[in-house]
């Protein structure tokens, strides 16, 4: 397995370079270093000298990919792409365009992200699986048809509606929890109830419907009929036979998301005032802070690759017949 993991990690390098290249190209298609300088310096009294000075200070005075004024290897290394993007491979995220240390910011902001994302994720999966199993138990009945109708309806509603509706009902009308906010100390749970509730409810439609499909496929297998013929209870069949056998597709969809939980959610964090990495990324895009954008995309890519490797490893746990080689 170790050889497999090492091989996968080596494969990840060209993927990361590609992601970096794409992010870099896309960013500089929309923004030039001059735009970035003007955005950072403000709109008034910005002289060409000030823009040039900002570019020199922040290392944006070089060509993007090829420096024709340099010779040999330097024509590649003395460029913005090399200096800004490839340093990330040494996990040197550097400073944001406003001068803050990105590593410090990321390490501070990932915890609030995780505080919301982890309970939403765990409770969400648990609720979705339970609901899906219950619906499977009543397959082909009126209850099943209504449940599917409900799932599709829930899926069709915009995520924003759940957020605004949740804030309006629970926080504004019923005044049960704060409408938004976050404090790292004290009763932080009060701020988590609503975003977690919204996250779980908004995910029931698509989640439960997906699990229902997986479980139904298993429910028609011979081993289920055999178990039932042997007198096993429905609970035993559902949780003891169907669920473990449906684990491979469940793990495929779920495990890959686990590392990405650190990255947070753009909408939830923005509306609920959670100072996490989702809103960090959003602010960076708005303020044309390329240093943060490239670092976040890089971290996101690594976490995703890590998630894929974890998924593969989890297969061996779910199904002993699977061998990684």
């Amino acid at each position: 397995m170790l050889a497999y993991i090492i091989r996968r990690l080596i494969y990840a390098i060209p993927i990361l370079v590609g992601v970096n290249l794409l992010t870099f190209t896309l960013f500089f298609v929309v923004n030039s270093p001059d735009d970035m300088a003007a955005s950072q310096l403000g709109d008034k009294y910005v002289t060409p000298e000030a823009i040039q000075a900002w570019k020199v200070k922040n290392g944006y005075d070089k060509p993007l990919f090829i420096n024709s004024e340099s010779e040999g290897l330097q024509s590649v290394t003395d460029t913005i792409f090399f200096n800004k993007s490839l340093r990330l491979f040494a996990f040197d995220f550097g400073r944001s365009e406003s001068g803050r240390d990105i590593t410090t910011d990321v390490s501070t902001r990932m915890w609030p992200s995780l505080a919301v994302a982890l309970p939403s994720f765990v409770i969400g999966i648990w609720v979705n699986i339970c609901v899906a199993l219950m619906v499977v138990m009543f397959h082909a009945t009126r209850l099943d048809r209504w449940a599917v109708f409900l799932f599709v309806s829930l899926m069709s509603i915009s995520y924003l509606f759940y957020i605004i509706g949740g804030q309006y009902l629970v926080a504004k009308t019923w005044k049960l929890v704060p409408v938004s906010g976050f404090h790292s100390e004290g009763d932080v749970w009060r701020f988590l109830i609503l975003p977690v509730l919204v996250g779980v409810i908004a995910g029931i439609g698509s989640g439960a419907r997906w699990y229902r499909t997986l479980f139904l496929e298993e429910a028609n297998q011979d081993y289920v009929r055999t178990a039932r013929a042997k007198g096993a209870s429905e609970m035993k069949i559902l949780f003891g036979h169907i669920l473990p056998n449906a684990m491979i597709p469940i793990l495929t969809g779920v495990v890959v998301l686990i590392p990405s939980l650190f990255m947070g959610s753009l909408l939830i964090e923005s509306f609920f005032g959670i100072p996490g990495l989702g809103s960090y990324m959003l602010d960076a895009i708005k303020s044309q802070d390329f240093a943060i954008v490239r670092s976040m995309v890089f971290i996101g890519s690594i976490l995703y690759i890590f998630g894929l490797i974890l998924t593969d490893i989890s297969y061996t746990w779910a199904d002993p017949r699977v061998r990684l080689n």
């Binding site: 009294y45 910011d105 019923w174 609970m235």
Partner: protein
């Protein structure tokens, strides 16, 4: 039954958690308990948290909200008086101006030999810095926190982590040091390019520093700047080139606040930058407040500076202030609040909800509340914008604010179709000005919150005239004591005279089509449709070119725009700060820079007058020149339309002294609160509604119970019964 039990357990846990929260006041209170005995002001910061708090680097109103509470510039503005009035703040009196000739000899103010102006400032004796570890020293006088390696200071993550603090009086050298910081190329101050044109020796100082091989802290005190002289501990002189009467206004901006050299030395400690321990994030000032928490991701907390000088609430204001209750605290010592908490609120909806619940004292600090999200709060009544009934029930107060600024759509005067200086071109532009009904535009799209601009200079600033004398005679007539827009027929006639009868080119027969560059985020489809309909009244077609600000800026820099949108908010209350929007050397095509004359307007008389206005002190002579410049602006019809933005800010009933100041943000020290009323109202408005909890639990039971029953029935059913069934 496992899942049913788990659901019940979760519900029970949630209920317990919620009930646990009911011990201390309302359940939905997002604010942590205030420190005992402190008067805490609760507010919000802008959705984009501050990026710079270094007074040499920052140049954004959202950031100056904090900088102006922490630092005290030499000059400031009277809180209540209008038109805006300068007054000394960090210095004892107005700067003494001395005029010098080329050889440095003193000359009189009316001399034509003036080559330099020297401003002499006397620093207040009672000005002291906030307590800060940068001032802490050992017994031998050496700095206490001066580390040679990053490891030594690794335990300090934030400024409040340092146990020892100290303070000292503000010295004249601190002002000089900050001006040198403006010139330091390593800081990249946005003011460097502009100020180097005026302050003697600033450009040379910058060049000198650029040539240095720097490593670590550079004590700028070791490098003299020709235009700066620290006469004694409390006296500083600044020499600028020529005459520039507006310089005194710049002394009221945060670029000129005192910064102690100890600050830079302290923050230059190894490893501090990696933990964001910088002056950019932890200011050191002598103003009424000091920063005790800076988490731009969540909240910024200011606390009363215990070393702040004796400062009192003004005893006089403008007419009407007494009646409006703005002088209730006259003569009392400021600041009133002990602590101010600014929370980051990215979305308007939660902000608005919390404001209505009483958890924010005011609805915002730097952005008004007249956008569409606040529609529910306002109604347009016969007297303009009024509050809706449910909002008025809360006792909320409106603070209108006519910003000293102007938003406009300008013509590119170099454009072959709408630009040019012939009579035909002027008539074409005037026809377009008439059909663009600004009054209607403001009523529809800004809920009436704006004032039609007949002049490039906004209200409250010399050169702006009200009434008949203040109207633009080319677009309006004075009728029944009000300005009435000229008719569409007149616009059509102008179009005929311009060579475009019925909106078609008289020579080619081609329809006239104009192109407007709009910023995609600022202008919606409805606004475009409205403008389209307006111009179609005289047969003109319009095409919009939406783009983000970067692309719009690019077009302005290269002159590739026909009609563009732009706005300008005053840095200081002087007509010069607006008239330069049409000064030809400010054209981006002339200066090859981000100039402000985006219309590329060129008029020799206007330019000559502007040069004179710039160096003439306020008075009748200057007023005549300003009036002529405004006349030229109207004659040439340089802008399609313009309005002075007006915003509305809301304050809960327990907050007082909330009068808006259009120029400075140094107003937190005047805010006062009735904490008792706030607590009472919060409790009254936020009684939790608990029935949904029980209803939710019941609903879950109702949903689960049939399933449980059906499951049991199925489990207990026999094969035979099933078959028969």
């Amino acid at each position: 039954m496992t899942s049913a039990r788990a659901v019940c357990a979760t519900l029970g846990l949630t209920a317990l958690m919620l009930l646990g929260g009911c011990g201390e006041g309302p359940w939905n209170n997002p604010n942590p308990p205030s420190p005992e005995g402190q008067l805490v002001y609760q507010s919000v910061m802008s959705p984009a948290p501050p990026k710079h708090l270094d007074p040499a680097i920052s140049y954004a109103s959202d950031e100056s909200l904090f900088i102006f509470q922490i630092y005290e510039p030499p000059m400031g503005y009277h809180f209540l008086k209008r038109p805006y009035e300068l007054e000394p703040q960090g210095v004892e009196d107005f700067p003494v101006e001395t005029y010098l000739d080329e050889s440095g000899n003193e000359v009189t103010a009316d001399s034509d030999q003036i080559a330099f102006t020297r401003y002499t400032l006397k620093v207040r004796e009672d000005a002291h810095y906030q307590p800060h570890p940068a001032f802490a020293t050992k017994e031998n006088g050496e700095p206490l926190y001066l580390f040679s390696t990053a490891e030594e200071g690794a335990g300090y993550k934030q400024v409040p982590d340092f146990p020892e603090t100290a303070s000292r009086p503000v010295h004249a050298n601190d002002y000089a040091y900050q001006i040198k910081r403006l010139a330091d190329p390593a800081l990249g101050s946005p003011m460097l390019g502009f100020m180097a044109q005026y302050i003697v020796g600033m450009a040379e100082f910058t060049a000198g520093l650029e040539a240095l091989d720097r490593d670590g802290w550079l004590n700028l005190d070791d490098y003299p700047m020709e235009g700066l002289e620290v006469v004694d501990e409390r006296t500083l002189s600044i020499t600028i080139k020529g005459r520039y009467p507006q310089f005194v206004y710049w002394l009221a901006m945060h670029f000129f606040v005192p910064v102690p050299p100890e600050a830079d030395r302290f923050y230059a400690n190894p490893g501090f930058l990696d933990r964001n321990l910088t002056l950019d994030w932890w200011p050191i000032g002598s103003g009424p407040f000091m920063m005790v928490k800076n988490d731009p991701n969540s909240e910024i907390v200011l606390e009363r500076n215990p070393n702040y000088r004796e400062d009192y609430f003004p005893t006089e204001g403008e007419p009407g202030d007494l009646e409006a209750g703005n002088l209730v605290d006259a003569g009392k010592r400021v600041p009133f609040v002990d602590r101010a908490v600014y929370r980051l609120e990215k979305e308007v909806l939660p902000l608005w909800t919390k404001f209505l619940q009483g958890y924010y004292d005011r609805s915002g600090e730097t952005h008004g509340n007249t956008n569409s999200v606040y529609d529910q709060a306002f109604v347009v009544g016969p007297d303009g914008v009024e509050m809706s009934a449910d909002v008025a029930d809360h006792g909320i107060r409106m603070d209108p604010d006519v910003k000293p600024g102007i938003y406009y759509y300008g013509f590119n005067m170099r454009d072959p179709v709408v630009g040019g200086y012939t009579e035909e071109k002027r008539k074409l532009r005037r026809a377009l000005q008439i059909v663009f009904n600004v009054e209607e535009y403001l009523a529809i799209f800004r809920k009436g919150n704006g004032i039609v601009a007949h002049n490039v200079i906004p209200p409250g600033i010399a050169g702006h005239l009200e009434g008949e004398a203040g109207i633009n005679p080319y677009t309006h007539v004075w009728k029944d004591d009000q300005a009435v827009r000229r008719s569409i027929d007149e616009a059509k006639q102008l179009l005929v005279e311009a060579g475009y009868p019925n909106g078609r080119d008289a020579r080619t027969g081609e329809p006239l089509k104009i192109f407007i560059d709009v910023q995609s985020q600022a202008v919606g489809k409805t606004q475009m449709n409205w403008m389209d309909r307006s111009f179609s009244q005289i047969g003109i077609q319009v095409e919009f070119r939406p783009a983000d600000w970067n692309r719009t800026r690019e077009k302005l820099l290269t002159g590739n725009s026909q009609i563009y949108s732009y706005g300008w908010l005053a840095d200081y209350p002087d007509p010069e700060n607006f008239l330069f929007l049409l000064y030809s050397p400010e054209s981006p095509l002339v200066c090859k820079c981000d100039g402000t004359n985006n219309s590329n307007f060129e008029n020799a008389e206007y330019d000559e007058l502007f040069r004179k206005v710039r160096v003439t002190p306020p008075g009748p002579e200057r007023d005549v020149m300003v009036a002529r410049m405004v006349e030229i602006f109207r004659e040439e019809a340089v802008w399609l339309y313009a309005y002075y933005p007006k915003d509305i800010y809301l304050a809960n009933a327990w907050v007082t002294n909330t009068k808006r100041h259009g120029i400075t943000k140094a107003t937190l020290k005047y805010i006062n609160l009735d904490a008792g009323m706030r607590e009472q109202k919060r409790a009254e408005w936020n009684q939790p509604v608990t029935w949904p909890l029980y209803a939710g639990a019941m609903m879950l039971v109702v949903l689960i119970l049939p399933g449980v029953i059906a499951y049991r029935r199925r489990q207990n059913a026999t094969a035979r019964r099933n078959h028969n069934g």
